[in-house]
Amino acid sequence: MPYLEMKGITKLYPNHLRANDGIDFSLEKNEIHAIVGENGAGKTTLMKILYGLEQLDAGSIMLSGKNVTIHGPLDANRLGIGMVHQHFKLIPEFSVAENVVLGIEPRKNVLFMDRNAAVQRISEVIASHGFNIDPRARVLTLTVGQMQQVEIVKMLYRNVDLLILDEPTSVLTEQEIHKLFETLRSLQKDGKTCIIITHKLQEVMEISDRVTVMRKGKVIAVRRTAEVDKAELARLMVGRSVLFQIERAKNACGSAVLELVNVTLKQRGRDRALLDAVNLTVRSCEIVGVAGVSGNGLGELEDVVAGLRRITSGRILHNGEDIAGLAPATLRERGLAYVPADRLRRGASLQSTVTENMIVTSHHRFLRAGFLKGGKIKQFAERLTKSFSIDGGPRVPVGTLSGGNIQKVILARELATASNLVIVAEPTWGLDVASSQFVYEKILEMRKAGAGILFISSNLDELLGIADAIAVMYRGRVVAFLSNVKGLSKERIGEYMLGLRDDFAPPRTQKKDEPA
């Protein structure tokens, strides 16, 4: 009998997206089980259901042979399930001990927290797993790796038997990853069971006993790690090629519209650069696709080109002029259109009407003495809603529309004004086939009109269908720039995406990840 058995797990998100679609997942006692899959495959959703952060719409969960319902993390903890989130949930100003006992503080005299008892018990947990943290230190003085240890201690303190780690290595250095894996092995020795969510195949091979591959809300395969290799996992993750119905006329490329020269983006407190000397050129009448797994710099690339984040060094050229550091409004005046990946927060204001959303980038064109020309704006919005066939009309709040229609509102706005540089990021994420087709057609129209298009996507099928060339990013670097000719396969791109190949590898500079 498996230790944990999740059966027929289905989770629907508001815009009819099946985040989990009839998933069966089982776990043996005392194993380390990896879950891999692309963005949006549903890994995190499945784990959130197990940890009680999301409620399932259908399916059942059996733990040690008993049916359980998990309404929240407290239920999960009571059942011995703990989760370490990708983004730590710690209070920086509190000490390690205070963070660990938060919510279940040992008391003395009814009212007061027994600090000494807390520190003592935590010290025992820390010592027994060979962690290197002082329970009295304030969390803000710790390194990222140590903070993660605090999160693990927090779960061990609550006596969990099953520990879920959501992309635990994405923020760690190599050394910290090794330390983490040692910890996981020692937990296994203590009889605990671990689930680790990751994109990184190397880590799967190294740490896991079994691996579950997910794609588009479904489980594609469950394997013993010893019986698969990385290439097969990569193939399972990205799936077989689907032929896309995109008519892409041959096109002569013009002059460079966008050039990135050694663009580097660093963040305080992180040793690894988010963007590491990125070089990339987009010409007019050209679609350059950018592929990569999340956390490898795609989002940052989007931010810096759109002027929403300042680069640390390098140059960003638009039609030959440096545009790094210019305000978003200035960039838009220069002819930038931008369809962001985060369309619900950045791309749209959900409580505002369709009209208000449509004029955010162009309302200064409808002015008379500081006041907006209501009539002109109404015409503009009506024209766009009609030509993009947006349901509901110009006066409804955008938040009431479906995902596809929200995306159409954004596209309508971005494509309404003539632009020569278009950034589109994950434009069809969560959209059905018809809406996706519509999006592709619009983007191809822009290309025909002469714009240079930077097409950032984690969907390889669509990149292979629409892009003229594909750049692949891994750990903030461009590791391949591939011309999209017949014979370019998803498997090959997948190998670059997962760091198995690197065309521009600097000769043996791996060492720079190590702390001095």
Partner: protein
């Protein structure tokens, strides 16, 4: 979880407001039954008293005037998702600034002098609130806290001027010297104190309405309030809209204070605007930050105030009854509005 969300949505609707008001009225009636020896008479005066003669009615409307201004000030900041909790200090300082300008020009033309007095009020209070907005923009200091703290200090500083340099030694009240008679706003409903500032309040509500919904700055401000990330993405200067709404909010508070001095008191009396800033928040919450909705919301508050005064004069209860009724409404309405606000933040 789901039921709770639905419940909250119903509460935030208009039904919620009606319920809130009914509940508060019931509690007030209950209190009167406990506290008054002639409860029916008290209830009559409390609820109908304000309409029994011109004096009461006019004064009630006059009380509503500054509430419209403070409510507008709060709403304009709310719409931009910045929070001005310094209304108390700003309205107080506005009155003082208007007084100071008038006292500095004892012989000026009433119209021009009055205008400069109001301008002074708006500028001083706008600047006080603007400081909090500026801190928020520059160092991400919580403007809610800084405006509140600053306002507390401003009240004390204003008290110094009222009783010190500008004080009237001959007056028994702790008040400044009286402003010149040419500055008094025309009374329009004698014998009450209602004056032409009532028209100013209506005009201000209309102007703020047009500003928020028809002007470029209003549109940009509302977009920033609803989704700052979206606004930045769309090319709106988001830091500007951390400061501008605070300045406008402060200026509206200042105008409210200045008009009270010119129209009603003719001098700044210590504590004359006590509670007005907080009531402005309640009024804005009742009106759901709709500038035009502020007029009836301000009436409601003034009505409770007037009812309590009438009941006090004609029966055996104290003015605190009104304060209690107002605070019931304040608590219920605030709880209701904060519930919606908390949900908004959680989603953002």
């Amino acid at each position: 979880m789901n039921e709770r969300r639905k419940f909250g949505e119903v509460l935030t609707g208009l039904t919620g407001l009606t319920l809130t008001l009914l509940l508060s009225f019931c509690l007030v009636i209950g209190l009167i039954f406990i506290l008054s020896r002639t409860p029916l008479r008290t209830i009559y005066f409390f609820f109908v008293g304000a309409f029994t003669n011109r004096y009461y009615l006019g004064n009630m409307l006059n009380v509503a005037v500054p509430l419209v201004f403070t409510g507008l000030g709060i709403s304009i900041a709310f719409k931009a998702s910045v929070f001005n909790l310094g209304g108390e200090g700003q309205i107080y300082a506005g009155g003082l600034a208007a007084t100071a300008v008038c006292l500095a020009m004892p012989a000026a033309n009433g119209f021009l002098g009055g205008l400069s007095a109001l301008a002074g009020a708006a500028v001083l209070s706008g600047a006080i609130a603007g400081v909090s907005g500026f801190f928020r923009m520059k160092w991400n200091t919580d403007e809610m806290i800084s405006s509140f703290l600053l306002s507390s200090a401003v009240v004390l500083a204003a008290n110094y001027f009222i009783t010190g340099p500008l004080g009237d030694p001959k007056n028994n009240l702790l008040a400044t010297l009286a402003v010149g008679p040419q500055y008094g706003l025309a009374r329009i409903f004698p014998p009450s104190k209602l004056n032409i500032s009532a028209f100013f309040a209506m005009a201000a509500a209309l102007m703020v309405f047009f500003f928020m919904y028809k002007s470029r700055a209003g549109y940009e401000m509302r977009m920033c309030g609803l989704n700052r990330e979206f606004s930045r993405y769309g090319g709106i200067n988001v830091s500007k809209y951390l400061v501008l709404p605070m300045i406008m909010s402060g200026a509206l508070h200042g105008l409210g204070g200045g008009l009270m001095v010119l129209g009603t008191y003719g001098a700044t009396i210590e504590g004359y605007s006590f509670g007005m800033g907080w009531n402005g928040i309640a009024v804005a919450l009742i009106a759901k930050n709709n500038p035009l909705g502020l007029i009836p919301a301000a009436f409601l508050f003034a009505y409770l105030d007037a009812g309590a005064k009438a009941a006090m004069l004609n029966s055996d209860v104290t003015f605190e009854i009104a304060a209690i009724a107002q605070s019931f409404i304040f608590y219920f309405v605030t709880a209701q509005a904060l519930y919606g606000f908390a949900r908004k933040r959680r989603r953002a």
